[in-house]
Symmetry: C2
DNA sequence: ATAGGTTGTCGAAGCGCTTCGACAGCGAAT
DNA sequence: ATTCGCTGTCGAAGCGCTTCGACAACCTAT
């Protein structure tokens, strides 16, 4: 393994000079810099991460805590994780992958050991156990998701309230009066992750203003669950013509079942989905949808963190404005209803 | 930040004693050990990762390179990643998340800087650029996937050859004579990742033995691509009654299209999928499938690596035997054909 | 010509840990 | 009673880097 000292010797300078060439923290004459860079290249030198971390008390690592559950929103999580890793590299950071399994202990371990300089938490619950720890440390962090209280925290999330409102507005404009909301799996509500509730709140209050009727039903993914939910919905509200779907693994089942029941999309019923672009585009009917901006969230989170680590940046809640893309799954409400 | 020295002072012993309590590399009297452990708890001590890495030249980190592409097999990748992270923690390791984006440079960087003690590479291509580097270093690594030459490498993968054979056998036993294989997206074949080809080879050679006819068509995910592919298949081989699907994002479109064309599953045509359990179970027809054992692969990879790092273990290719689960999408071939 | 300021480089200290050799203390064997 | 071999503990060196203060060498302003 090549060391700084070897590079220094090879270039005929002192170790500290090489260090300054690397960090740029002091000015170095062009000739010296070039000589050093040449030696670095020739010897194939890579600074030792441990030594660097020890001396500078900076690991250049960002920890990313992803939920252990592989049951929900998997592509979104992956997309965020990839965006985080990619953006982090651009800023010279690596990413440590932690699962939610360890819970608050993981936070303690990371902050205590100097393993990482900062953390990103995904899938934050309203009253998350990890929050007090984050508030009590000076290690920067960003949450992807919105807890009940955000004081002293930095959060990035889609504005789910506005998202709900946007969906219902779109349906209202098309003349739909009876809206059914296919929500997340019951487990998501029980876990109090918040985003599902926020969507619903935003949707409901806008619906009230617009004078629409809303029926909300949580729903597990898969066909059987969807079939049961759909039957109940049409039982209670036979005139339902508009659907808002938040659970992406319920989207395809819903479309298949509607087709099976002879209800045409978008002629008889309209469907708006809250899901990643790819799902919306690849579905059997190209879906009018509000995209979940996974990449943007990941990128934002890292950039906030880097700003904080550089002494810039501050605590702040960033709610990304939702954008609704009209595709083939929504149309005017049928005249008869 | 609490240091070893502070713990030592608090416990009234020397720093080295604390270190030995932590590592267990020398025997320590029970009373001393307990006193030290008590101090560690009281002070909330966590060893500094950088210092530890520097002194021991072991980072206790495993690097995981995941492909940048988010277009394929996303849930499988995520499942592997989670399994890797979880298993690694059990053995005292953390996981560094690298994207394939950096390519071979990432390997150089990690081995050169001592950032990680070992690497796991996912989505390995037949002639992967990173392989020469891995062979040229003494850093242990495990590939998830199978390159063209495995000499000097450790690999873990599903036995895709046997998987293909198993699928076709199942269909043969049910009396199907004309089999269509819906393969991966063309991009997957162009990338030469190998698993798709291996599946096909295994399937074809078994089909030959059994006297079946096989038609293979690569297929992108989504409805439009699937519709085109399906049309071509029935055009060329109208008597096709058995399908093997490898592209999981083609599964649902296929089922929907068959339904639409009035071909009942499993009465008229049978479908076998190669996909994660969850996809098979949640599909509109519960699918007879060979599961992709993502968790097992991740766990295996880590355990191999840990064994190597402990001086046990050796280079080896582990092919996981496929298991076919019969569900509702396959049945006897229709009598007429 | 002198004081003052820059610029570029160096030496040394030290980050917090592991690990090696040393050795005190003690029971067992001679 | 002396030697031997344990066991448990300590001190010190050193891992490879960053960073601080020092200081030549030069330039500019007086």
């Amino acid at each position: 393994m090549v060391t700084l000292a070897e590079v220094a010797q090879h270039a005929g300078v002192s170790a500290s000079t090489v260090s300054y060439v690397l960090s740029g923290k002091r000015s170095i004459s062009t000739t010296t810099r070039q000589r050093v860079e040449q030696s670095i290249r020739e010897l194939g030198y890579h600074p030792n991460a441990g030594a660097r971390a020890l001396a500078s008390s900076r690991s250049n690592i960002i920890a990313l805590m992803v939920p252990l559950r592989t049951d929900m929103y998997v592509p979104v999580m992956m997309e965020i994780a990839i965006a985080v890793a990619t953006t982090a590299r651009i800023h010279g950071y690596d990413v440590l992958l932690l699962t939610g399994e360890e819970g608050p202990d993981a936070v303690r371990r990371v902050t205590g050991s100097g393993l990482a300089d900062a953390m990103i938490l995904m899938d934050v619950e309203l009253e998350d156990e990890r929050l007090p720890l984050l508030r009590g440390t000076d290690q920067p962090s960003v949450l992807i998701g919105l807890p009940a209280s955000t004081s002293g925290l930095t959060c990035v999330d889609l504005d789910f309230g506005a998202t709900g409102a946007l969906c219902v507005e779109h349906l209202a404009k098309l003349g739909h009066r009876d809206i059914a909301v296919i929500g997340e799996a019951p487990a998501v509500y029980e876990r109090h992750t918040g985003f599902a509730e926020r969507t619903l709140d935003g949707l409901r209050s806008r619906a009230r203003e617009l004078g629409l009727r809303v029926l909300h039903r949580p729903c597990d993914g898969g066909y059987d669950a969807m079939a049961a939910t759909l039957a109940r919905i049409f039982d209670e509200r036979p005139d339902t013509t508009g659907f808002v779907v938040q659970n992406e693994s319920a989207v395809e089942p819903l479309l298949a079942l509607l087709r099976q029941q002879g209800r045409a999309v978008p002629e008889d019923v309209s469907v708006v989905a809250i899901c990643p672009e790819q799902v919306a585009v690849q579905a059997s009917v190209r879906l009018t949808s509000v995209a979940i901006p996974a990449q943007e969230m990941g990128r934002h989170a890292v950039e906030h963190l880097v700003a904080k680590l550089d002494g810039r940046g501050s605590d702040e809640v960033v709610l990304i404005a939702p954008e609704l893309t009209v595709r083939a799954s929504t149309g005017p409400a049928p005249a008869g209803s």
